[in-house]
Structure formats: structure tokens, C-alpha cells
């Protein structure tokens, strides 16, 4: 009944459900993402409850259910690339999953992963800066403690943002990424229940 991936046959009984209501839930998740991307650093609660397969958390799963389909290539970091996660995304989103990070429209990783892959993400080109990847980083905790001070479009004065366990190498990459504007990678932080985003325009001061 369902398209079964050749390499990893999934039992339908093992499959977790996707959105309860495809139109309303994907709209609600998208609106949270749109708000988050247009107001970088502001924290939004995940507006729906979803089941997350082993390897992904709830907010990252909801983001992919809302945004990914056959037109978007997904790259999962080694710690996220479980059989359950692959089957879940293939079944509910029908999206191609690549092991080549350069191909990714959405790249998903944990904050504890080796993040050296980020420099390989597509940044678009000067004529088509939209042909860039979006990094979805699964984190344990997002808060508005002032470890980072954000400025730029979408931010009235400043926004404060704190991501637990964000390594210094991330900030070095982000600073480079910001200088590439209008090219660059946009970042979505996804905890179990909340999301926040960094647009490529956002200037970050690490406190």
C-alpha cells in the first residue's frame, strides 16, 4: 500500500503518524517558521504536537513535515540518519535523502555533532542567492538569555538569544556566512518544543 524503500523495508505498524490535519498543521508550523525567520532570534512555541521518529526531535520533524517534499533534498547528519527517521521522511514527505551535504536543501544535525559539514552547505550564487541550504540544528534548550545579541532586518533594537552548547566554531562560520550576503545559509534552531531562526542578514555579537 505504501511505497517501501528497497533497502530498508518498513513495517506499516512501526510508522509514526504525520500531521493530524495536513492543511491546518502545516500552515501553523509554517507561520511559526515565517515569524521566526522574519524576526531572527525571537523564540516561538511549536504550535502543534507531532510524533518524532528516533533520530529527530519534535520541532525538527514538524519543520520537515511542513516544508519538505519531493522537490527538496534532505541531508541528515550521521547521528540523525536512523532508519526510523529516513522512513518517516520518505513516507510522509516523499523527499529524496542524500548523503552528499552539498546537495541539501535542508540539512539536519544535532548541536553535539561534528559541525564541520556546514562549510559544504550550498550558499547560492550572486544571481540566485535563494538557491541555498537551510540548516536545521536540533538543540536542547533555546532561551532569551543574552549570550548572543542580534541585530539586523526583523529586529527593532536588539534581540537576545542563547542556545545551550553552541560551539565557538559555529560563531566563526556564522560570521563568514554573514559576509557572503546576499548568499548564505539560514539557520533554524529546533528544540523539542520551540524554534528560533537566524537569517543570513542577522549580525551576531557573542557576549
Amino acid at each position: 500500500m505504501t511505497p517501501q524503500p528497497q533497502s530498508a523495508p518498513a513495517q506499516t505498524s512501526e510508522m509514526l503518524p504525520g500531521f493530524d490535519h495536513a492543511a491546518f498543521d502545516s500552515n501553523a508550523v509554517f507561520r511559526a517558521l515565517l515569524d521566526a525567520m522574519s524576526r531572527p532570534g525571537r523564540i516561538y512555541d511549536l504550535p502543534v504536537s507531532v510524533s518524532a521518529p528516533d533520530g529527530l526531535n519534535k520541532a525538527a520533524t514538524a519543520t520537515l513535515l511542513a516544508m519538505a517534499d519531493m522537490d527538496t533534498t534532505i541531508w541528515l547528519s550521521p547521528s540523525c540518519a536512523t532508519k526510523a527517521a529516513g522512513n518517516h521522511l520518505k513516507f510522509h514527505c516523499g523527499c529524496p535523502i542524500s548523503t552528499d551535504v552539498k546537495q541539501a536543501d535542508f540539512a539536519i544535525a544535532r548541536i553535539s555533532d561534528d559541525l564541520s559539514f556546514v562549510t559544504d552547505l550550498a550558499v547560492g550564487n550572486a544571481e540566485y542567492p535563494d538557491q541555498s541550504a537551510t540548516l536545521i540544528l536540533m538543540v536542547d534548550e533555546i532561551s532569551d538569555r543574552p549570550s548572543m545579541t542580534l541585530k539586523g532586518p526583523g529586529i527593532k533594537d536588539t534581540h537576545s538569544l542563547s542556545i545551550k552548547g553552541l560551539p565557538a566554531s559555529f560563531h566563526a562560520w556564522r560570521a563568514e556566512n554573514h559576509h557572503l550576503f546576499p548568499c548564505g545559509v539560514d539557520v533554524i534552531f529546533a528544540s523539542e518544543t520551540q524554534i528560533a531562526a537566524l537569517s543570513r542578514t542577522t549580525r551576531i555579537e557573542v557576549n
Partner: protein
């Protein structure tokens, strides 16, 4: 053939929520996320045929369809008015296909789709303004080739636009562009604000609401995140200026709003009236009166004939 007349309130159960299928909405939503991440850059999208002709706001309708949820309240304006054909038909379209609440009051709307005006009332952070755009490329009338305009944006090569504004000055003594007046977004992209009067340009700067632009025929989406710097192009010795009127609104007496001129007869009588109908109605409810309001005694205004 069986004839069924559906009440708009019954919705259109044969269509997906908000008319577009989910895959189309996802494609538009991905373009919107890129658009807010690159303010002023025109993101190509796979625009669909809509059940209305190009020029009737198919781009704005597709953006609204991708953004609108069941809890939204929609307001649609055409040149500031809620009661013109285009505005009424789009409002009914979403009342039918998404069963959302609609309003004519700016303050009550969560999404405002607009053709060529920005409401006079200051917009809030929890509101989204969706513009219908005919020609999204500000350089198009200067350079018809898309391959070239794309390079010009990539290289930030906007000299041609300044030459065009300069030619205005040399020919007319001032910048004669009055609508679709080009703006610079966040010091990077020159953007067409859609054919809004230049009167509205200053409202775009640092607006609290999110602004989304959809061009259906040209298949482009672009955006201004809230609190983004939007500067109208000008010269040091010819600074940007908005239109001003010597008259006030004939109905509500407003002197701070954009006024439409209405020709009343063939004797040269005319009146000016707010283009933003909700703004004007709200002021009239609050007791403000202009010289041609029907409450006013005849002959009190200098153009008393117009009060009839």
C-alpha cells in the same frame, strides 16, 4: 444538468483549504522563507494559474493562500478601498475557500492584501501586509532582459536607476516619478514597492508588520521583514518628498491621508476624499467632518455645490 447554488458561507468543500493544493503552498512557503531572509531580492516561484485573470492580484492571492490559516481575519483593499470589485471578489474568494473571517477594519485584520496602497493606520507586529505586484523588477523598463537585470542586482549596479531619476530632474526640475517609486532595501537591493503612490514609501521603512509581495504573471515573490531599512532613492540636492495637498478630505476633513480627486460635474467642481475608506469612515464615526460631508449645511463650504 443539476444546478446547485452554493451560499459562500457554505464554503467550497471540493477544494483544499484556501484553494491551493498543499504541495503548491509548500513551494510558495519555501520561497517566502528565502524572501524574508534576503530582503528585497525577488525569489522565482512556480506561480499557478488562479481562477482570476492576471492583473487581478494572482500573485497576492497565492501568497495569501500560502500564509492564511483558519484563525486569520482577512482584509482586502484596492487603492485603499474595501468596496471595489477586485477587493470584494478576493475577500469572497477566501471567505469561500478558507472560511476565514473577513473585515474592512484595518485594526481587526491579521492579514491585509492590498492593491497599491498601504493603510493610513499604523500596522502592528501581529499583522501581515500582502501586496499585489504587476511588474516586480524595478529595472525592467530600463533594461528589458532578465539575464541583465539579474546581473545588475548581483553586482549592485544601480547607476541606471539614478540616471533615470536624474533625467526626471533635468526634464521637469524635480523627480517626476509619483508611484512605484524605487526604494533601496537594507542598503543592498533596489526594490519596486509595487505601484503604490510614493506617499506610502515612508510607511515601508521600519514597519512593525511583515510585508510580502507577490507577482503572479512574473512569478516572483519578495519580502520586507519587520523593522527593515527602506529608503526611497534620491539625491542630496533633490531629496525624496511625498505628495501634499492644499485641500482636505471632503468627507472627514483629514489632512494627513492620501487623497483621491473626484470630478463632480462638467463645471469644474471637484472634491478630494481619502483613498483609505476605513480610515475615512473611522474618522467620520469619531465626529470629524469635511466641507462636503452630507451632515454639513449647504453653502458652508467654498465649493458648496459639491455637497449635494
Amino acid at each position: 444538468m443539476e444546478q446547485t447554488v452554493k451560499n459562500p458561507a457554505d464554503g467550497a468543500p471540493d477544494y483544499n483549504f484556501a484553494y491551493l493544493d498543499e504541495q503548491t503552498k509548500r513551494m510558495i512557503r519555501r520561497a517566502l522563507l528565502k524572501a524574508v531572509a534576503i530582503p528585497g531580492y525577488q525569489v522565482p516561484f512556480a506561480g499557478r494559474e488562479m481562477p482570476m485573470p492576471y492583473g487581478w492580484g494572482t500573485g497576492g492571492v497565492q501568497v495569501t493562500a500560502a500564509v492564511i490559516g483558519p484563525n486569520d481575519t482577512l482584509k482586502v483593499i484596492d487603492q485603499g478601498a474595501d468596496d471595489t470589485t477586485n477587493a470584494v471578489s478576493i475577500r469572497q474568494f477566501f471567505a469561500k475557500t478558507a472560511q476565514v473571517a473577513t473585515t474592512e477594519k484595518t485594526a481587526e485584520a491579521s492579514i491585509i492584501q492590498t492593491r497599491h496602497r498601504i493603510p493610513e493606520k499604523e500596522l502592528r507586529e501581529d499583522q501581515v501586509l500582502v501586496y499585489q505586484v504587476p511588474i516586480p523588477e524595478p529595472l525592467r523598463f530600463l533594461e528589458p532582459r532578465e539575464t541583465e537585470t539579474r546581473k545588475m542586482h548581483a553586482l549592485e549596479e544601480y547607476g541606471l536607476m539614478h540616471v533615470k531619476l536624474y533625467e526626471d530632474i533635468s526634464r521637469h526640475g524635480h523627480i517626476a516619478t509619483t508611484y512605484a517609486y524605487p526604494v533601496m532595501v537594507d542598503d543592498r537591493y533596489v526594490m519596486d514597492p509595487s505601484p503604490t503612490p510614493k506617499f506610502d514609501n515612508p510607511k515601508m521603512n521600519n514597519m512593525a508588520a511583515l510585508q510580502l509581495f507577490g507577482a503572479g504573471r512574473e512569478k516572483r515573490i519578495y519580502a520586507l521583514p519587520p523593522y527593515t531599512k527602506v529608503k526611497s532613492l534620491d539625491f542630496e540636492d533633490h531629496p525624496f518628498e511625498v505628495q501634499t495637498w492644499e485641500d482636505e478630505c471632503g468627507m472627514c476633513g483629514a489632512r494627513d491621508s492620501y487623497l483621491d480627486e473626484v470630478i463632480l460635474d462638467d463645471q469644474g467642481n471637484r472634491m478630494f476624499v481619502c483613498s483609505d475608506t476605513d480610515y475615512c469612515a473611522e474618522r467620520q464615526e469619531a465626529g470629524h467632518r469635511g466641507p462636503q460631508h452630507h451632515d454639513q449645511p449647504l453653502g458652508t463650504a467654498d465649493r458648496g455645490k459639491a455637497a449635494e
